[in-house]
Subunit: 567 residues, 2 copies
């Protein structure tokens, strides 16, 4: 592509609401234009990158035996009533009415439509398993759209849905999709982790998120340095300490801790390490108050707490009045010693291994030292209650956990029978009996991948594309393109040769001065840059620089070809 | 593709509301599933065809120098207010509100969005001309969606918009797009005509529709057998007869024509050919009544009538009361003889060439014979007022006109300054002065092409795809695939060889009986069918049949290869 025949419009200033690097860089590189909140136009430059992602996703989905189709964006309310999601989906569902006052939504996902399709198209177990996918535009009416295409309202998604007669078949296709996702992100040149994810209220126990690693990521991931283990921090199991709980050695003592409420304040005041303290919170569940105890250096994991049998349904932190009534004190001074018998005390594995610990005194401005379980404080049950931290042992017994941040770009999920049962999507089994199908669903945020790749790959000069996602692989910059023709001719010959070898080459023939020209090429992140100048031609060399390099190299034509085309 | 790995679901019965062949066949072949009125899911089979069209459109747009981008489907009301189309566009505009009560529409077209993009991205005449396009989903809330994807509400369109400083530049790009459209429809294997189209209220004089010829088409096209001339029937000029008007020879006579009101009734009753009669209608315009006269065998062309200077603005047929008051008679008996002086009499060129003609008597149940212009009836002005008919001379002087029916699948239009002026989209010209840009727009109904191709290419057994649009080029049907393996092996070997040569081959390995298998392959319209059977293998031949053939041919492997791969 000759740049004079393309439309490149890099931008100096970006709006203040562009908070993250990828959003700023996509605007500065001229990949995006905002049309409305969370709604973006993909410029020619942006679309080139988006299509690279789309192509890799499509190729790998086809290779994995999934079959492409295309569902509409506008979906009738009736289908969403069948699954009761018309109301339950919440405010993200963009509802609308047509000229006949019929109600529709702009599809945020397609479980209802594909299940409706499947119950019409699939009649027999012989048609199973089958896996349909589409690459299509979706809309979620985010309450706070932000970060450009990272959390846009209108976005491009690959969504796949598989149908099965048995859990074994579902698990097999789930495995195939898991593998395909790995290949997709590998081929795109991204560093990622497949992490175990919380299956939430939907049920089923198999769900993985594919997270592109980036410091700016919204999600925390625990991963092992000794195995493939990776999980969302909310889900990673915190093992019990390998050491037994010591026998009590100290006396229980009530001490004054005036106005020391936080763990930092208390441990400093008492000169005791936070990992020798127990912090306690009171939660009000549907069956009353529950006390949760973790070590002072740990955090309660709300996802784990929500799964406790003592806390069925919804629960919230107890308010000050409740705390006062139940314990006689205020937040900051609650402790397990002397709590009323009707309050279950659930203790994290690490906290349960402590002896002679510090905890709240259940009276304002007091704590206990030398507290011990059983002797001084009840344990109703020991449970895994805390978030894992860097240095914890990996739950699979292999290696040590570390915490990384990630951006979710894919999600695979064993849905099970939920949608097919609600919508009566059945096939006849081997015995001629109608049975509801089982389903898996598999999503990839195609447009989000573009932003995630930039979060992972950029520097202060701009984007540093992984080669498979770059809009062009090579940029040829001509110096002196306005006057002399020797450099122009040489650049054109080089362009012809490289494109002849199948490389995607951008020839910058705009006639800019070197500074702005190089800045543009670095901003838009082209991996290989070649400068063609009269001076270089006289010396028989081209100036070459990889986007990740810091220095130019003078390469002969043969060296350049070897560099770009390989051996 | 092995058919057992795909999803094919042909259907026997189709709903009664599938009125046209393409709709019925797309449903029967299992290319579409209706989700709601005018909203369809493209099945895997349907999508394969849609993508073929999309690919050809994209390749030719790129070849013509247009630059692909991608605009959102959801557009803010504010932009549509700038062009006053928020109200003017009418009921087809699907309006909606987000959770913050902001108003949007689902884009039925993108002039507003692209002009907003252009006014931000284009600053200088040096960036012009430029031509942006996208292939994207649109929504038009049709009052009566019908004919499947022919007139769907949600549909796929290629829309391009070019920007220019001068009319000459606009005309040049228009010419390039005209050429690209011709190549697109040629490559798709469709018979089509590029016809001059009415530019309507938008103004500008260059607009062409690309019409796929099909008897079921909604549009009538006049085309010349002696030149490239083709035009929408509404727009085709009816030339004046080459013969001079004869001198009057007969006397004007009032004759009784009791209850004979229609042209057929009158000409039969008086034993005179309709081409010797003049029929007259009265139209009420903003400046009063106007009489329009055409020959008895011709029809008034309303588009031409609406452009008469005597009928500025809106006009309607006069009602019975008005006719009675102005002429003393009823519809069916109006004529130009003795009309009140204040009514202009506009006479079509062919009617004006008559002498001694029959016309209404301006009294109930009477007509005149032997009427003559000037001697008996005023002519205010002679004009081109009628629809052309088969056999008329071509307006370009080359050949004779014929009437064909067509389906509009593309439209190119020189918009001029309309949108850029309304939205203040300017660039600086050579003198540093801000000037509004000129625009062209160029649309192709990508999904409609699929239906149009079927309307043009089908028989009573199903679809007959032009090869470039076929989901697969070759179908290999295995007979006896359940038991013996020799036929299976031979089919697989043939499949491998043909796909190795780059052909798209469907291997029907479903194990159906020959009848249903062949019926499916004919219904879905695969161009080349090869049957592999034990019996054929013993004779050293394959059974071959082109979709347009009526007989099978036994071909040796070499003959088959020559047939499919060419010399």
């Amino acid at each position: 592509m000759r740049l004079s025949q393309f439309h490149l419009a890099t931008v100096k200033e970006v709006p203040a609401d562009a908070e993250v690097a990828s959003h700023r860089l996509m605007l500065r590189a001229g990949m995006l234009r905002k049309l409305a909140a969370g709604i973006y136009t993909w410029t020619p430059l942006g679309l080139r990158v988006l299509r690279k992602v789309e192509t890799v996703v499509r190729e790998e989905m086809n290779r994995a035996g999934a079959i492409e189709m295309l569902m509409p964006s506008i979906q009738p309310r009736e289908l969403w009533e069948e699954t009761q999601r018309w109301e339950k989906f919440g405010g993200q569902l963009l509802k609308l009415k047509d000229r006949r006052e019929q109600e529709y939504c702009y599809g945020p996902t397609h479980e209802e439509v594909i299940t409706d399709f499947a119950r019409q198209e699939l009649k027999s177990y012989k048609q199973l398993p089958i896996n349909f996918y589409q690459i299509q535009t979706k809309f979620r009416d985010e309450i706070r759209p932000r970060f450009g295409v990272m959390r846009a309202r209108e976005f491009m998604m690959k969504d796949a849905y598989s149908f099965h007669l048995t859990p074994e078949s579902l698990a097999a296709t789930y495995g195939v999709m898991y593998g395909a996702y790995g290949r997709i992100f590998d081929r795109l040149g991204l560093r990622f982790r497949a992490v175990q994810a919380d299956t939430g209220a939907i049920g089923g126990n198999a769900s993985h998120e594919f997270q592109v690693l980036a410091e700016s990521g919204e999600d925390a991931i625990a991963w092992s340095d000794g195995s493939d283990y990776a999980a969302n921090v909310e889900l990673a199991e915190a093992l019990a300490p390998r050491v037994e709980r010591p026998e009590p050695a100290a006396e229980l003592q009530r001490v004054d801790t005036p106005a020391r409420k936080t763990m930092d304040e208390v441990s400093t005041f008492l000169s005791v390490s936070p990992d020798q303290c127990v912090k306690t919170i009171l939660v009000r569940g549907e069956q009353g108050l529950v006390a949760l105890c973790v070590r002072g250096d740990h955090e309660i994991n709300e996802v784990k707490a929500a799964k406790l049998e003592e806390l069925p349904g919804a629960s919230v932190l107890a308010d000050e009045a409740e705390i006062l009534k139940a314990t006689g004190t205020r937040p900051g001074f609650i402790g397990p010693v002397g709590l009323p018998d009707e309050i279950p005390v659930i203790v994290d594995r690490s906290a349960a291994a402590l002896a002679d610990f510090v905890c709240g005194g259940n009276a304002v401005d007091t704590h206990y030292t030398g507290a011990n379980w059983n002797r001084d404080a009840r344990i109703t049950r020991i449970a895994d209650l805390r978030k894992v931290v860097d240095g914890d042992p990996s739950p699979d017994g292999e290696g040590t956990l570390h915490i990384a941040r990630g951006i979710e770009v894919g999600h695979v999920f064993q849905l099970g029978g939920r949608y097919a049962e609600a919508m009566n999507a059945t096939v006849l089994d081997e015995n001629g009996k109608a049975r509801a199908m089982l389903m898996g669903c598999y999503g990839i945020g195609v447009s989000r991948i573009v932003a995630a790749a930039i979060e992972q790959n950029h520097d202060d000069r701009g984007i540093v594309w992984p080669e498979p996602m770059a809009p062009w692989t090579v940029a040829i910059c001509v110096i002196g393109s306005r006057n002399g023709t020797q450099a122009q001719d040489a650049a054109q010959a080089l362009y012809d040769e490289l494109t002849g070898h199948g490389l995607e080459v951008l020839l910058d023939d705009r006639g800019l001065r070197p500074g702005p020209m190089f800045a543009d090429m670095e901003l838009i992140g082209i991996p290989h840059r070649i400068v063609v100048s009269e001076r270089g031609l006289e010396a028989g060399t081209f100036e070459y620089r990889h986007r990740r390099d810091t220095e130019n190299r003078a390469l002969t034509r043969a060296e350049l070809m070897e560099r770009l085309l390989g051996a």
